[in-house]
Symmetry: C2
């Protein structure tokens, strides 16, 4: 199964710009995203921890806490990806007795990090505002 949290997180945040806070219950959002309310609350919780949303038990709805021009897609990406890592994985414990095996890890790390970084740099250039604007072209 592929991770769709990033896409859903963007969807959630985009909704805050078109509906008043009190209508944005997890159930309402779930019906827009087409998933289960708990999935929404789970992702909202991550965005809340990242300081992008507010919400409170007992009070319906969620509110955005920053200006959409101040939230980059990278911010959102990092909020919903385990801070562990990106898209590339290395193989573990290559043979240290082999000249390739003994050095491949550090070499790969450099190259794969560069690729990951390029992707993150691109995400950093886009804002939530740009997404919202694009939605209503």
């Amino acid at each position: 199964m592929k991770n769709s949290r990033f896409a859903i997180a963007i969807h959630i945040l985009a909704l805050t710009s078109v509906q008043p806070r009190e209508q944005l219950t997890s159930e309402y959002i779930a019906s827009s995203v087409n998933t289960n309310p708990v999935v929404i609350r789970r992702i909202s919780s991550m965005l809340k921890k990242a300081g992008m949303l507010t919400s409170q038990a007992g009070i319906p709805g969620i509110g955005i806490t920053k200006d959409p021009t101040e939230i980059s897609l990278l911010d959102i990406y990092k909020a919903v990806q385990g801070k562990d890592e990106g898209t590339f994985a290395m193989h573990e414990n290559p043979n240290p007795k082999c000249p390739v095996g003994s050095n491949i890890q550090s070499t790969l790390e450099k190259k794969l990090n560069a690729a990951q970084q390029a992707m993150e740099n691109e995400l950093a250039t886009e804002t939530l505002m740009a997404v919202i604007h694009d939605l209503f072209d």
Copy 2:
């Protein structure tokens, strides 16, 4: 479980520059990578389909078919990723009756493709030769 085929594929190809072809049996490579020979043959098979390796049933070893300066990391990446897609997934069937749900897909596609593309562009700038060189710094 995270996909490590890309890392292993690079490892396999790097080995072709330090060992004569006839020693590069799947068993030997597996001991350098620290995995099972079948895993190596599986990935080698993908690289073979992509035109980077040759091998033949009954004949031990694998041979590289291109100059390492002519193989980019992007070539390798594409060879071992299902041609399906990249690192981002969208959520399916958002609600078409919602102004966000009805447009989010095409908007997301643009932004996520741009990020994927940035990563691929970076991978395209690096060659297998650069990796091999880096291994022996």
